[in-house]
Symmetry: C2
Subunit: 437 residues, 2 copies
Amino acid sequence: MAAQTALSTESTTTGSVTPVDLGPAVALSCRECGHRVPLGPVFACEECFGPLEIAYDFGVHSAADTEELRKRIEAGPANIWRYAPLLPVPANVAEKPNINPGWTKLVQADNLARELGVDAGKLFVKDDSGNPTHSFKDRVVAQAIEAARAFDFTTLSCSSTGNLAGAVGAAAARAGFRSCVFIPHDLEQGKVVMAAVYGGELIGIEGNYDDVNRFCSELIGDPAGEGWGFVNVNLRPYYAEGSKTLAYEICEQLGWRLPDQLVVPIASGSQLTKIDKGLQELIKLGLVEDRPYKIFGAQAEGCSPVSVAYKAGHDVVRPQKPNTIAKSLAIGNPADGPYVLDIARRTGGAVEDVNDEQVVDAIRLLARTEGIFAETAGGVTVGVAKKLIENGLLDPTLTTVVLNTGDGLKTLDAVADVGLTATIRPSLESFREAGLG
Amino acid sequence: MAAQTALSTESTTTGSVTPVDLGPAVALSCRECGHRVPLGPVFACEECFGPLEIAYDFGVHSAADTEELRKRIEAGPANIWRYAPLLPVPANVAEKPNINPGWTKLVQADNLARELGVDAGKLFVKDDSGNPTHSFKDRVVAQAIEAARAFDFTTLSCSSTGNLAGAVGAAAARAGFRSCVFIPHDLEQGKVVMAAVYGGELIGIEGNYDDVNRFCSELIGDPAGEGWGFVNVNLRPYYAEGSKTLAYEICEQLGWRLPDQLVVPIASGSQLTKIDKGLQELIKLGLVEDRPYKIFGAQAEGCSPVSVAYKAGHDVVRPQKPNTIAKSLAIGNPADGPYVLDIARRTGGAVEDVNDEQVVDAIRLLARTEGIFAETAGGVTVGVAKKLIENGLLDPTLTTVVLNTGDGLKTLDAVADVGLTATIRPSLESFREAGLG
């Protein structure tokens, strides 16, 4: 995570003070002190340095308004823009060039349920590997693109070690932005290819991911960074809202019903907090019945600062040095960690972690039961769901949604030990000798 | 391709003679001599050895029937099962466990159009990388699964060098079949992982792909193969119908309109012939207006038997030994080659090929213009589209759909030379020195 530093309004582009059309978004509001500022490319409160969030006016004041909204959503496109009335994007967003992520499958996972001891028909996997660049990052980058248009940015940027680089590269290419992505210079060749193929600039930084982040923060404050939208820094308030669409889709796909339990991965913690925000919005808007739900956070043991804090009963999160195969979750100092702790405790959920071996077992379990090949992050959520059931913390009789946020093709190394069952000569004799006939 | 050999009715399972419920499918009919046999796990005519195809009764006899069908489709799920009334599957197919491919994006590719000199709003990419295992093979395997259920098969099998192995493994896992897939024993480790992760049996055959195929044909005729459905051999007539859904989706996504021109890759040629079949069905059913369309076939120069035959004016296809990076298209003796030649000539299309360098250029072109990272097969179709425009064979003022049938993540090696734009130290000075600021 980039450090949360305040930008004074003077240092931002002029776009931040002129009114912009981002649909129902009306202002930025500090999550800590409630201070409001106009919509602009800022991410930290000028009063208290707290994180800024989007404040909305959805214009829904009656049951008739709710019904109209529901119909409008259901008649919308099969992507996140069906929820444009609830996102910081202009109403005509679907007409603009965008890679149009979302509306991924909610898979009723009866085979997995049987293995985990969950009641039939109660377990679902929200499979975000179906997004255009095969991770949930497409959802958040799509929002950042619209904010970048609104603020007249011409270059899209980010620091990344994988999924985000590809998502930014692809979205920028299609939307007509220059992109310039910063990564540690010694990333695996496969990840470099996935990020570079979209033709944007890909800059290797001599150093580790923290060095990359520090450099990006410097660049934002420098004239050289003028006109640059860093999707996960100065566009973060907009970007982060993309995760709300996971909550919207899950509820709509369940027939406008809240799930009882959700198992969500934790990297920065932003996704989990925005899923909670999305569920709360649906309740307030009257689109779903107001009843309790529990949110469970999932981490890898090798990077489990939030899980450790949860179990110790702490309100603050002590940073860790990550060491896990679940690299897309490996943020040792998660910015939204404390909010995640709040949500897990408030909803009656929990935060749990699994070790790398359990991650791999869970990837293979999901693949052989449901035909879904998940990234390591999906191994973390499925593995944690299994552990929570064994612990008695997750109720196997209730409707449960487990998130898979990425694609196994991106983390092939994690399961590199799977292989051939047998090698035979091309003859029936050899087939029988191998005990296969 | 497996050799087309006839199976006598005696040698097939009893499922072939008892009536089965495969929706509108009523019989198998020989493409060459028209001889009809009951639905069963057979693929070649007992009279003339010609390929068997599904014969349907769609029950559409009036404009009112057409309108009802259109409404039923539009109200259907966001996957291929919206077209269940036109496929060899039972009416309740959507309720069965299946990986539910299809309804992938038809991307209006205005950036690519600009680069290729096509009129704005006229060029579309049908992007099948969005399928569950990220290739169009999920469409065909989904049909084979339903046929396997109908014929009481318990094991799903195939010979494969890549996409098909993963598609069969995933679909079998979810649908509750045993799977046993045969591949050359020396495949790249990445491809082995992608196929093995779903937990089915994966057997390496000491030999090349032809040896694998020959062995599979032997196994079908042997008692050891009893109860085995080879998706692309004894279930081929059902399997192949899955490609019709590409035609259906393209037309529905264009607003129930035929495209003027399609650029389709050729491996066995089956996909191209079934797209044509699907378009003809939509015309006959009254779902689209009856007007001309042109189908263009695309091959890689290193495996271009159909393109060579087309250009030489031949009706037969002389086999080649493949040598191209477009491995998913590398079938040197394409079973449906002659039918492809017929269709290209009848519709006023053509068959063209591009070399490996042009394939790579086209992959990069599509990625940097539309944010779509295509498999080598997508590089072939985009590269051929570019060449056909330069040749004057493809009209840049007409609505054109180019197919991308797979995902770039599966053929990373093809673009392994893309990489970092620059490497810098984590400082603004270094950033400026590199000419980036």
